[in-house]
């Protein structure tokens, strides 16, 4: 019998004990995988939304809190506090392109939809939008919609949407961008400002710079010219990830404790197995098996627990992530998701890290029992009844 076969036979000798030990490690690993995969997916989503914004700097009103900064990426309604005069001052700075946004909401069939007031021409150039159907025309009576909104509410060009009691004709539908732009109704900025009664104010300004090495200089100049605050895209990502990170680290600690508890389960199972197989160990020693061989046999058994538990835990964890995803949009920390389906749940990095973690923990848990088995005296072991 080969060493592998012997290990597997010993492991499955007591089927119920084998299954319960595997379950212990699987549950711990499953919770870890769920958190890791959702966390990785959310992080990727934050970066994607930031890239979709297409700006190196974001000009916000002074005194915005972290929630409002995050809302730039989420598309939530934002307070309108930057007057057009400040937009013009920022836009006048040489070497930058300034695009104002007025972010509001409406509803279609009682479902909330984001409405963004924009300067049509500069925005189209800034975002490299292409029209899928109809024309790109935004005025007092016309709107352009993202592809997902059109699909979700079965909207066609020529259809009408009512926003704050005013009807707008859908003049065009944008080509799919694969980001938040697909989920928005776009109005001409002046029309949106009048419709929502916000005077001449906008929510924030997205700024693209010609020379990224001069970001600090641009940032300083913007703040000198207008009464606004400036945050870079990287700072924006950092503040979102910092909020997410605090929550995620705490949950991962809890999951790690679950895996640790499972490791004690492995130690317990292995010690029981050694006690039951003392005579067998003695026979192996009498046949010439070295201490090293006996040590490795028990260590392999332990590692196999980790490997099988890891595989089962991965499957359960990814399944759990899939079912949890539709609910995480409701969390204030994860509201930046475009949709539940946009959470990237499967990641080779998560698979690798988790499997390595499961096997290493199981091996560590197996060292003490394996040492105990290898140190049994042949006489004591063989004479055990």
């Amino acid at each position: 019998m080969t060493r592998g076969k012997l290990v597997f036979k010993n492991l499955t000798r007591k089927k119920s004990r084998f299954l319960f030990t595997i379950m212990g490690i699987s549950v711990g690993i499953a919770s870890l995988v769920t958190l890791l995969s959702l966390g990785t997916g959310l992080e990727a989503e934050v970066k994607k939304q930031s890239q979709a914004l297409g700006a190196e700097l974001v000009v916000t009103p002074k005194g915005w809190c972290a929630y409002e900064q995050i809302s730039v990426l989420t598309g939530e309604t934002l307070p309108e506090a930057i007057p057009n005069a400040d937009v013009e001052k920022v836009a006048a700075i040489k070497g930058i392109t300034a695009i104002p946004y007025l972010v509001q909401r409406t509803a279609i069939k009682n479902q909330p939809v984001t409405v963004v007031g924009i300067l049509p021409k500069p925005m189209k150039q800034f975002k490299n939008w292409e029209i899928d159907r109809g024309d790109y025309r935004l005025d007092q009576e016309s709107a352009v919609v993202g592809s997902s909104i059109a699909q979700q509410f079965e909207l066609k060009t020529g259809d009408k949407v009512t926003i704050r009691g005013t009807e707008f004709k859908i003049q065009g539908i944008l080509k799919e961008m694969g980001n938040r732009d697909d989920l928005v109704i776009y109005l001409d900025l002046a029309t949106a400002q009048k419709l929502y009664g916000v005077g001449d104010k906008v929510s924030f300004i997205a700024v693209k710079v010609d020379d990224v090495t001069q970001m600090d200089r641009y940032s300083q100049e913007i703040q000198e010219r207008a009464n606004v605050a400036v945050v870079s895209d990287k700072q924006l990502i950092r503040s979102v990830l910092a909020i997410m990170g605090t929550v995620r680290n705490t949950l991962q600690m809890i999951a790690a404790v679950a895996v640790l508890a499972a490791a004690f389960g492995i130690i317990n199972t292995m010690l029981t197995a050694i006690h039951e197989r003392k005579r067998e160990i003695g026979i192996l020693q009498a046949l010439g098996a070295k201490r090293r061989t006996i040590f490795s046999l028990f260590l392999y058994e332990s590692a196999l627990y980790g490997l099988l538990g890891g595989v089962l835990g991965l499957a359960a964890g990814f399944a759990l992530s899939f079912f949890a995803a539709p609910y995480i949009e409701q969390s204030e920390f994860t509201a930046f998701l475009g949709s539940a389906q946009s959470v990237k749940m499967f990641s080779p990095a998560v698979v690798g890290q988790t499997m390595l973690f499961a096997v290493v923990v199981a091996c560590l848990a197996g060292i003490y029992p394996a040492l105990k088995a290898s140190r049994l005296s042949p006489v004591e072991a063989i004479s055990y009844e």
């Binding site: 000798r13 007591k14 089927k15 119920s16 299954l19 319960f20 379950m23 549950v27 499953a30 919770s31 769920t34 958190l35 959702l38 809190c65 972290a66 929630y67 995050i70 939530e76 309604t77 307070p79 509001q104 909401r105 409406t106 509803a107 279609i108 009682n110 909330p112 409405v115 009512t162 926003i163 704050r164 009691g165 929502y196 949950l251 359960a316 759990l320 079912f323 949890a324 609910y327 995480i328 409701q330 969390s331 204030e332 509201a335």
Partner: protein, 128 residues
Amino acid sequence: MRLSRFSLIGLIFLIVLSLGTAALAFTAPKAEGLDVDTVYSDPFAYKGEIKVRGAVAGLEPDKNRFLVIDYKEYVACQSVACPAKWITVSASGKLPESGKMVEIKGAIEKDESAKGGFVLNASEVKVK
């Protein structure tokens, strides 16, 4: 050796319990419904009964009304003082305490005396 029936039932129970607990821990939302800021932007776009979630920011007991602010904003800022937008809720019965999370079922109605020119006429108020 075959698994005993007891072990099998125990095993299934453990799996369901573990995964169920984990799922609940990760997904249970504190309050559900439309957000205050979302509804405030275009209140009359919502027809019939809607469910709104928010934090109670003030009471008007003489009018049997209370004010709710945005749930996400309240959670992030931990204060009922900062938001500039709120919804006035008209309710019958005991009003919820200030600072409590609530889920309100009701319909939007015109009322020029309230902020934004509307109230949410509540048919049910659930304190979370």
